[in-house]
């Protein structure tokens, strides 16, 4: 309430006193958040504006992730681009490949003289947005990673001990069989199938999703998602689907409705699902680490992130870049980050923010909220688990979704489907390569 009031006052002040504001530089910031997240962004911006007198950040909501990216691109073509643009992780390669449209964050920070220590950021979070040389290109803003959500009441109802160890998929396989035998109608459901069961699966088992370090090392990358590990996992899931142990609900997070309604026992979904699940679920739930196949790896790597980062656009004035630098370093401050992390369920981007949250006792009061943080930070990321940087990735995900649906419906085997996904995806990667040569 206080924050809303503050933001109203700030807005009113900017509107009413444009003359008296002495040489305040305006920093435009376009983002994709509405509802509660939108309010939290507004509050962050208001806090920043109140904290200093040199710059005014003006935030505006431009639609969902892809609409925001489109708005940014269209604005750039018209020479009206914002200083800061929020881009979802799928658009990372698009932003990176276009050298002339952006100004890398590490450059902005260096020129603005703001406090900037790249090592303060969590490796697996910033890795997605850094070059192979370690230069940070955009500032991670909201990041999450997939975890396993457990409906303990549904487990009990099917006569399965809810404390059963489900660290590995082998164990989950047994649990699914027991759940099915116990009469569970929806033992396992998932959201974002490509992100969780292929992209994160590959990183977690330290196998490549694509050549050239998952695209980080060059545009001439090729998909490797038809590897042995991936095909083995998908074959098993196909078996589960056939036996009614895995229920397919759609390409996005449709399964969330089923899980929150208490129909499903297990749910692989982003850690950012916390807000929705904790407010809606009328059952005893729990967050576990994403399972791994013991037959593939003895101990899992880290998972990768999803979400968005903030890009600074090219062709702005020195002052605007200085202001952008000041705003980005404000966002990285550990108190700001800790608050964001606790309010949204998104991962903290700095190590200090995670530590501050732990010290405040938040994780003890909200058990499970640190699972994602531990899963991300337990190991140093490898070339396979740093993230993905593939052009036309949105269309490639579409292709993967189509091929996965062919597996779930029994039209194709996992191997056939992934071979086809590789062939079709590679064709798009070659197009992207020739567009950005």
């Amino acid at each position: 309430m206080k924050k809303t009031l503050l933001s109203i006052l700030t807005v009113a002040a900017t509107l009413l006193a444009p003359v008296s504001a002495i040489a305040q530089t305006e920093i435009t910031f376009w983002h994709a958040f509405t509802g509660r997240l939108g309010e939290l962004v507004k509050a962050q911006v208001a806090d920043f504006n109140a904290s200093q007198d040199d710059y005014v950040v003006v935030e505006s909501h431009k639609g969902n992730y892809s609409e925001t990216l489109n708005a940014g691109i269209a604005a750039f073509r018209a020479g009206e681009q914002p200083v800061i643009l929020m881009v979802y992780e799928v658009g990372t390669a698009t932003m990176m490949a276009t050298g002339g449209a952006i100004k890398p964050v590490y450059e902005v920070m260096a020129e603005s003289g703001a406090v900037f220590d790249p090592d303060a950021y969590i490796g697996a979070v910033k890795g997605y947005y850094t070059t192979t040389d370690g230069d940070m290109l955009s500032l991670p803003f909201n990041s999450s990673t997939p975890v396993l959500w457990v409906n303990r009441d549904a487990m009990k109802a099917a006569g399965v001990n809810p404390d059963t160890d489900m660290s590995t998929w082998e164990q989950v396989d047994d649990v699914l069989t027991q759940l099915k035998a116990g009469g569970a109608e929806c033992p396992l459901v998932t959201a974002w199938q490509s992100w969780i069961h292929l992209e994160n699966f590959s990183a977690y088992h330290n196998v490549p999703f694509a050549t050239k370090d998952n695209g980080f090392a060059g545009l001439d990358t090729e998909l490797k998602l038809n590897g042995k590990a991936q095909v083995a996992h998908l074959s098993k899931m196909a078996e589960w689907a056939k036996d009614g142990k895995f229920i397919y609900t759609g390409r996005r997070n449709e399964g969330g409705a089923n899980f929150r309604a208490g129909e499903c026992a297990l749910f692989t979904e982003s850690s950012a699902g916390y807000a929705g699940i904790s407010s809606e679920a009328k059952f005893d739930f729990e967050v576990r680490h994403l399972p791994y196949w013991k037959s593939i790896t003895r101990s899992p790597q880290n998972t990768i992130i999803g979400g968005a980062s903030l890009w600074v656009m090219a062709n702005h004035s020195r002052d605007e870049y200085k202001g952008a630098g000041a705003f980005l370093s404000f966002l990285s401050r550990s108190d700001v980050q800790a608050e964001w992390h606790q309010n949204t369920g998104y991962l903290p981007i700095t190590i200090a923010a995670g530590d501050a949250t732990r010290a405040s006792g938040f994780y003890d009061k909200n058990p499970g909220t640190d699972v994602a943080v531990i899963q991300m930070t337990a190991k140093q990321p490898t070339a396979n688990s740093k993230g993905l940087r593939l052009g036309s990735f949105d269309q490639i995900r579409g292709i993967i979704d189509e091929e996965l649906e062919a597996i779930w419906s029994g039209n194709k085997t996992a191997q056939q489907a992934m071979d086809s996904a590789k062939r079709r995806g590679d064709a798009l990667l070659r197009r992207f390569e020739s567009a950005n040569r």
Binding site: S66, L69, N70, I73, F76, R77, G91, T94, A97, T98, G100, A101, C186, Y248, T249, G250, R251, R252, E254, A257, N258, A261, E263, S392, D394, Q395, G398, D401, E402, E403, E405, A406, W408, S409, N411, R424, A427, L428, R431, S434, A435, N436, R437
Partner: protein, 293 residues
Amino acid sequence: MEKRVTFRGWLLPILLIAPQIVISLIFFFYPAAQAVWQSLFIPDPFGLSARFVGLGNFEFLLSDPFYRASFFTTALFSILVTAFAMVPALFLAVLADRLIKGSSVYRTMLIWPYAVAPAIAGVLWLFMFNTRVGLASWYLGQFGYDWNHVLNGGEAMGLVVLASAWGRISYNFLFFFAALQAVPRSVIEAAAIDGAHFWRRFFTIVLPLISPTTFFLLVVNVVYAFFETFGIIHTITAGGPQQSTTILVYKVFADGFVGQDLGSSSAQSVILLFVVGLLTVIQFKYIEKRVHY
């Protein structure tokens, strides 16, 4: 003796049609020309560089069996949407036309769905047929039918057709109703006196007399099915499962506005332009001959 009103001189007539010409040039011809031009390039999304590829984009598309398959999907979708939007509309219009009392109430209620935006209509239908919590799928389940449009392509197609045609029925109803009202009563009464029963009168007198409206609606509905349905498809199936509801215009939208592949998207628009142009020519050349004005 035909009476012709003519203008003296050129200036006034040109001035009078100029606004329409200018609007067409700016909003139709210019973008169309842009699309044709852009279809020859692979540009980067920010417009910083573009590589000329000649017909490379077309080659890339037409060599893709999934793209070719979407022609068939589009044809099936358009035929179904047009049929489901027109036949019930005509039926309802005939019934409303026969009403003596309260026809304005029915009319108003039948027109309502037209006010619902396509994306909202999509969400409504999606909710009713949600595989787990949907009302319609629950009733189907009671009859022992396991509805699952997220994996069953045929059901997905049925659902997007239904959602696309539903709002359109109102629009078509309005035109059919107006056309029916314009059919001279005396002709129908004469036929009735000759002993023709209702359906015979309908097929031999009414239907031919409203054929201009039917033809107009046919053209308009095909264009609707081709171009204006991507919002519904986007919200309900996003083209899936597999590619069973990926129609041509949805791919234009998805590749261009979500995937940022403007070269391919432009090439697809050009292909679509040709397809629709061809269809319109066929419609005017062959079907219009059977229309009596």
